[in-house]
């Protein structure tokens, strides 16, 4: 979720952590995590495919950001 978009789930998790005694938690944002296996040996090409997937399917870019980690 982009910083400026309200994340009610993150807020509730934040509040629950406070109730549990974790007073130094200042903010929680909740997101999604995908593990994608790509049959492509060239890392740059794989990243392009992953970017494409993120834009076309995995995120709604109006409200969400994405980050790609290649392994």
């Amino acid at each position: 979720m982009k910083k400026e978009v309200l994340d009610p789930q993150g807020k509730v998790v934040n509040q629950t952590l406070k109730n549990m005694g974790y007073q130094n938690i200042t903010n929680v944002r909740q997101g999604k995590y995908f593990e994608i296996e790509i049959n492509e040996s060239n890392k740059d090409k794989a990243k392009i495919i992953a970017e494409d997937i993120c834009k076309k399917l995995l995120t709604n870019t109006v409200i969400e950001d994405y980050k790609i980690n290649l392994e």
Binding site: P8, Q9, V12, V13, T16, N19, M20, Q30
Partner: protein, 227 residues
């Protein structure tokens, strides 16, 4: 017999269960989740619904509510605890029952009547099912796919801690009669001491012929008689 029904933001079966308890002369009080202490209760019920909008994981945020500490204390002292549907999910997230409830195998919200075999009738919730052990109750859930590893399943089977299994009309427990993909067709389980029951089906929804059946009534008769 005295009972408490815990009400969470998002509970929606709390009044149904209250009606059922009162019909069977169990004196009930509604308790808001933010309270610290339960009134004197022989039975604590965690009702169905969508506590906290199912945020993070179903039952997860509710399991950290203030009142849960006292529910755990009551349970340890031997009070009966019944978790129905979302209540079952909360019991699991609180660590009062083992295993986990995953999303239904077909990824659909299921709302229909199912047949159940009462597997364990030697507990205070199910004593009266001796007169009828193949029953029909409604389910209404999205995360009812009970999952446990092999060791836990073996433990549940060996110690006879499975209260209900999904079955067909004849009482046959098989793959076709499993609505949500639960391990071993499990619909409800008990703790070792058999004073905590978690179940996905809704007994409180079938307590009157006007509601098309009374198979749920038998549980409340058992509870009333057990005291």
């Amino acid at each position: 017999m005295k009972s408490s029904v815990i009400v969470f933001p998002g509970s929606n079966c709390d009044r149904d269960i209250a009606v059922a308890l009162e019909k069977f002369q169990i004196k009930n009080e509604m308790v808001w989740h933010d309270e610290t202490n339960l009134p004197k209760s022989d039975l604590v019920v965690l009702p169905g619904g969508f506590a906290y909008g199912d945020y993070l994981r179903t039952g997860c945020i509710a399991s950290k509510s203030k009142i849960i500490n006292d529910v755990v204390k009551h349970a340890k002292k031997g009070a009966l605890v019944l978790g129905i549907c979302n209540g079952f999910q909360i019991l699991i997230e609180s660590g009062l029952l083992p295993g986990v409830l995953l999303r239904n195998k077909n990824l659909r919200f299921l709302s229909k009547n199912v047949f159940l075999k009462v597997v364990n009738m030697e507990n205070k919730f199910c004593l009266k099912y001796k007169k009828k052990n193949i029953i029909e109750l409604p389910i209404a859930h999205n995360e009812g796919n009970y999952f446990a590893n092999e060791d836990l399943l073996k433990n549940l089977e060996d110690k006879n801690l499975i209260a209900f299994k999904y079955c067909n009309e004849q009482g046959l427990v098989n793959k076709i009669s499993n609505p949500n993909g639960s391990s071993n067709n499990i619909a409800g389980i008990l703790n070792n001491e058999k004073n905590i029951l978690g179940m996905m089906p809704h007994p409180e929804r079938l307590i009157d012929p006007l509601l098309s059946g009374e198979d749920g009534s038998i549980m409340f008769e058992s509870l009333f008689k057990s005291h």
